[in-house]
Symmetry: C2
Subunit: 133 residues, 2 copies
């Protein structure tokens, strides 16, 4: 079952400038920062209600830089939180959505899987099943 | 003050197909549908937690059709809910974000104003101040 919008992924060119601007715009500081080690993608999260704005910056050749080259900076994906990611993946495959990840894989906060944008009307969707704490 | 992500706007080519697919994917039916009379933009909302997914379809020449021609179907804007839209507009202008609407205007559920994507790292943002009920 889909419970909430966990975060909205936004591809940007310059994280430092972005963080300065959105700190002013939102009136709050980032709640977390991290770097994905392999592709060296920098991540900064701001919290807005129950949803994070997840800003993403990546080096040349990364999926984020490729996205920006093709479409420009901006909205990249939405992440929905579920309590059963395996069941959601089966349901999405049955509905004709292309699975980038056929099986859930470890993410920063639990299990994740990316689907679409093919078969999902242009929307790249991340499924997130947070670890039970 | 920014309170939550009110909705996420998604531009699509075929509303009927989109509604069928997302009804399956989300396991819930749309919570509302409407049509903006002037530009004849069709809107269908699904609710996910405190945020709506707002699907938008427009005829040739509409802003929605133009967006799809330039970037393809997909994520179009995010809407943040505020309790003081006039104050937010001033703050955004001071931060260097381009205001599409210099003043709030009436929207389906209260006052709205669009800003960006220029000056907001590629993100088109709608401010929403719901009517008090």
């Amino acid at each position: 079952m889909v419970k909430k919008i966990h975060h909205i992924g936004i591809a940007v060119k310059n994280m430092d400038e972005t963080v300065k601007l959105y700190t002013k715009m939102l009136g709050s500081k980032p709640v977390s920062t991290m770097e994905i080690p392999g592709p060296k993608i920098k991540i900064t999260n701001f919290q807005v209600g129950e949803t994070a704005l997840e800003f993403l910056e990546g080096p040349a050749g990364s999926s984020i830089a490729d996205f920006i080259a093709a479409k420009g900076e901006g909205l990249h994906h939405i992440a929905v939180e579920t309590d059963d990611i395996a069941a959601e993946l089966k349901k999405l495959a049955a509905a004709g959505v292309k699975l980038k990840d056929k099986e859930p894989r470890p993410g920063p906060e639990g299990k994740i899987a990316f689907v679409g944008p093919e078969g999902a009307h242009g929307v790249t969707i991340e499924l997130v099943q947070p670890e039970k704490k």
